[in-house]
Amino acid sequence: MDVPLYLEPRLESRLASLLRARTFLHTLAGGLGSPLNVVLPDRMAENLAAFRAVYRRHYLSGGIFFAHKANRSSALVRRLAATEAAVDVASLGELQHALGSGFVPDRVMATGPKNPEFLWLAARSGTTVNIDSPVELDELAALVRDYGLPRTRILLRLSGFCTPGVRLLTRQSRFGTAEAELDGLLKSVERHRDAVELTGVGYHLDTTSPAEKAVALEGCVKALDTCRARGFTPRAVDIGGGFGTDYLADGAQWQRYTTELTNAALGTRPPMTWRRHTYGLRNENGTLRGALALYPAHRPTAGAQYLDALLSLPAPSLGRPLATLLLENLYELHTEPGRALVDQCGVTLARVLEVRRTEATDRTEPSDRGESTDRRESTDDRADNADRAEAADRTGPGHLLVRLDANADDIGLEEHGVLVDPVLVPRAAPGGAPDAGPVTCYLAGNLCLEADMITRRAVHLPSAPHPGDLLAFANTAGYCMDFSADEAQQQPVARKVAVWQDGPADGTGREDTSWHWCLDEQYWPHVNRRRKGSA
């Protein structure tokens, strides 16, 4: 237990440089308040280029659609509009935002469940519609006919793919049409030929498993063949998103942390969490049960690399590599990366309000499953060891409770199961008070609510934070920034700013050149090349 259980964030050049710009960040948070969201639009273009490079390596063409729901930022969407990327929108507001940010309808796809307003604007503007169900297809066709609109381009979202040989189970999805019902769906498309043009089919699976996706992708190629046989001329397979992000700098830290978390759940080491939370693991008579309800924060194969690996897998029944299968059937590939496309594109700042000492963890709370009295005999030793270890731990330097001017809804990492340490950005210049070394702290939010912990785990920091310091939560741009932020207790929702460095927009981030900023809604990609608001 000598080395603290760090989970250091993976910080690539731009983001690392930003977090070293201590004065700049304090000026921003000082003027705009805590919490504060900071986005790095130029990084998004680099992520896009990495995805496109994978397409090129496999000779594939097709659209890379940013899943807008990952972040509401205008700066990110406007910056992306200046590239060759497309955008995937899932609500009326997102569609309006995309069109208003410079995406022409050719480069927009409407996905997910749709209300009549969303469907109308999609059809009227000429946006491609990813059809979720036969009912939606009927509604769309009626709109097109009633108002004499041009034929709308559609893709069909499929689900429930079958596998040869080994039966691969996949979680039930509430979206899409089962592959087995394709025939009925195509009859509807035939009936609506005057109103819609079938351009492809797709899937989106909520899984990290490439094997399940390989089954679905091959299923889509076979479905397109059925479409061709019935006289359609579809061109694309849309494989959705789910390429993932690697949040951590060091895989060994993740391995060590999760092992200790397992031990804590079994009671063989002191708890590492507020009120003995175990993230889904539980102890049943000395044996571990349950499943770790955490995002796999260390993912060596994520983002564009995951796409590359998926495309290199063999098709389960046809045997060809999936990229070859798409290519030789003359299909384009559409992808909808969200989290992966905004990797390293944002950080959430929160000011430290108070630092106080606290108990290592709540000792008196009875365990709801009564592990401590119900262990089988052979594990009594383990329990004793844990008690001794815990006693020793409590005589140690104790834990800090750090209260932040932000709440758990502002920093969505915990909500999405991503465990990663914040970076301490001190207010005072380094070299002042002597550094007392690493500390263990719990991070509490600004709501008057017991449950408002920024994270339920004890966070290890290389040195103690002080009131007035900032904690920077890195890599929050994908789903962890504004997805669930609200104004509970009339606490303000974070403002958002875009930041950039001098130099060509497409260049890679440069070490420690000065940073510029503007409010997110005032960012436009060409304007940001002018110097304004530098600090």
């Binding site: 000779y59 040989g165 080994v166 039966r167 691969l168 189970l169 996949t170 979680r171 909520d206 899984t207 990290t208 498993s209 094997a211 399940e212 190629v221 063949d225 061709r228 046989a229 998103g241 789910g242 993932g244 895989g251 391995q255 999760t258 092992t259 397992t262 079994l266 889904g280 000395g286 044996t287 571990l288 049960r289 349950g290 499943a291 309800a293 955490l294 995002y295 796999p296 046809l318 045997g319 060809r320 070859t324 299968l325 290519l327 030789e328 059937n329 003359l330 052979s378 594990t379 030793d381 383990r382 909500e415 999405h416 199961g417 789903y479």
Partner: protein, 450 residues
Amino acid sequence: MRFERITDAIGNTPLVRIDPSVHGLRTIDLYAKLEMLNPFGSVKDRAAWNMVRAGLPAAAAEDRTVIELSSGNTAKALVVLAGMHGVPFKTVTNRMRIPEIKDLLLLLGAEVEELPGQTECLDPTNTDDPLTHFHQTLTEPGSAYLYTDQYYNDRNTQAHVEGTGPEILKDLDGRAPDWFIACVGTAGSSTGVARVLREHDPRVEVVGLVSHKADFVPGIRTIDEVQEVGLFDPGTYGTIASVTADEAIDGMLTLARRCGILAGPTSGAAYFGAVRHLRELDDGPAPGRDSDPDRPAGRRTAVFIVCDRIESYLGYVRQRRPELLGRPPQPNSVATLSDAEVRGAPDIDVEEARRWIEHDRPLVVDLRSPFAYTALHIAGSVNIVDELFGELVRGGLPFSKSRPVLLACPVGEQSAKYAALLARMGHPDVRSLRGGIIAWRDAGAPLIRE
């Protein structure tokens, strides 16, 4: 040795000494318990038979299906045992990472279900995990399963308490070894053998081997995963150490190439972990025996388990250490072409190609897969998928030199390579369709579906 039933051949496996010149230990005799020689190929034959035999007659009478969570050897033994009694078998797993085992299970008549992967968008309120789901299906009304429950079933351990453990004692002339080394999967064999050896002599040191956390060694769990095993009790092991996939393969190679023991990577891990552990102790005293009057100073013994055979793991090796299966490049193969040769490959654009087809009727070879060819192709073309075409040309030119040939692939990349190769092999008039079938389509040239 004559048996009435194949199941009588389970157990009584040989204990074989590893040549000291291979492992280099000076004071320790290392023995391999060859569980790979069980009739269905692994140590799991013992546990499977012991767990399932009592229930099989009733399962057959009541139309029950034997079910287990197994990614390999237990499933293999169970499907055979169930099949011999006319009982179906199903395995559910999220750990099936050896494709050969998957196919073998299907061949033996198993039904295989794989659990879904982790969700990409985490729903923290979702308490359902795949195992909970599995246990629900077992208890659903109308379900008819005989669940062998290898991770919790004491009959798994018992098979080794009654078989493996006493056999080792007998073959060591009634003495327990100083060390016993085993990989931990279900913990059945290590727990059972350790119990017998310790009862005989409490000074036996037991070493449990787990897979390195970021790695995958078939049949072994990582240090976290063993905690999910009901039979696992950390008190069984004096030492728990981890082994990487690379180390397991190294151990496997030593066993196969130098000892004539054709065992899989799990056994390789056991060998590697055993030698690594014992090398440290080669000069020191045996565990707890500084002054043992019963035993002459000097020689000590260690036993490790060889749990299954090598044949199923060629894909595993190919993925991790392809150089071990490397073959020299074939003379007539696209791999031997230089970049300059590929760049200089004779090719022809779509418009010229259409005229050429009309006037000279070259043989049009479409190198895409039959599935893609069937969907859409150039009229009159023949389909030879690139893999097959590669095999064909290895043996020589597959066409007459008098017949011009047009090669087509999706974007003109593969066809250029084969055109260059055929040209080098002496074909006078072979061309690659520039830009491939995609350029053909984009130029509006006809593609047909027959």
